[in-house]
Symmetry: C2
Subunit: 201 residues, 2 copies
């Protein structure tokens, strides 16, 4: 195909859609076609929603969450316990914890994990800002809700070290059997952790 | 979450993204976050590409293809053989055949297959327009490139019946072993068809 039959507008739409996580070249073509077929119900509203998000959404200067206001709705919510900070790697983890709805605390988004192999050092994360928030005296507990991966746990150790100079108590999420999980399918590490952390019944 | 922590703009973006084929609620959240994080590289360009596509892309009044011009680039290409029409169910099939690049013919997009259970009858497809194109005397061969599904083959039979009154020759795609395919993994119907249609070596 010398001049692609798709036309430059459709080609470009497919190329950009293929950059979304979870979409490859084939599914991007399917998505582009679905968008064009549902122009009024999907393509036009989605274009509008994207423009609006691009215009309004910003990163919270306090916690690193994304919202249309700065400080974000969580940081400025007076009903939330400002003395407890939940430290997460990414905004998606914050969203997941909010869906669980178990705790009305505030957050601190690290922006990733330490990863020497990928060239991510402490300065690439918001660890300094976290230490400053904790040193201010407003925070009494930091809950490390980082992923239970090697990088996540290494990051948790570094943060714990940095926070020893501040007056905060540091805790981390419990390890154990996922609710609804079957023991037979769980790895040995999780089972051993669940046994060690057994609770009275 | 009474007032969602995501904010209405991000909520709406996620809801609309979840309507794309291949994206569910979870992957729509991931996609929305990726878009917001890559605002200048992805969100803004994609919003622009979508607006442009919504504004410019239209359905070809001759063949049913989508393009920014009407008639589409294929229908108005003088180097294509106007005497051969390849009948496809959907624009995505047209794109697939163009990627194969095996034939410089023109197309006719049906817009689906006959499906009595789903309430899709002959009037919902562009069969009448196909018959008119074939009756005009400009077309000498119609190649039915519909899917090898029950609905596709039923549609092919109906089209063949309707075209007997016109002077065109009707053919269909060959059935056989996919190039690169392993016999062990093929169904019996395909193997039987490939044996019946064996060719001299």
């Amino acid at each position: 195909m010398a001049r692609s039959v798709l036309g430059p507008e459709i080609e470009r739409l497919i190329q950009l859609l293929a950059k979304l996580p979870g979409l490859g070249p084939r599914s991007a073509r399917r998505a582009a076609l679905a968008l064009i077929k549902k122009k009024d119900q999907l393509l036009v509203p989605l274009a509008g929603a994207m423009s609006l998000a691009a215009e309004r959404v910003k990163v919270c200067s306090v916690c690193g969450n994304i919202d249309t206001v700065d400080p974000c709705a969580i940081c400025s919510d007076p009903e939330r316990d400002a003395r407890t900070l939940i430290v997460v790697e990414d905004v998606s983890d914050l969203w997941a914890l909010e869906r669980a709805g178990a705790m009305k605390a505030r957050y601190h988004v690290l922006g990733g994990t330490l990863s020497p192999l990928d060239g991510v050092g402490p300065d690439d994360l918001t660890i300094d800002a976290l230490v400053r928030r904790c040193a201010s005296g407003e925070v009494s507990e930091v809950i490390l809700a980082v992923n239970a991966t090697v990088d996540g746990q290494a990051t948790a150790h570094v943060i714990t070290d940095r926070l020893t100079a501040t007056p905060v108590k540091v805790s981390r999420l419990a390890h154990g059997v996922p609710v609804g999980g079957e023991l037979d399918y769980l790895d040995e590490g999780t089972l051993a952790a669940a046994l060690r952390a057994r609770t009275p019944f």
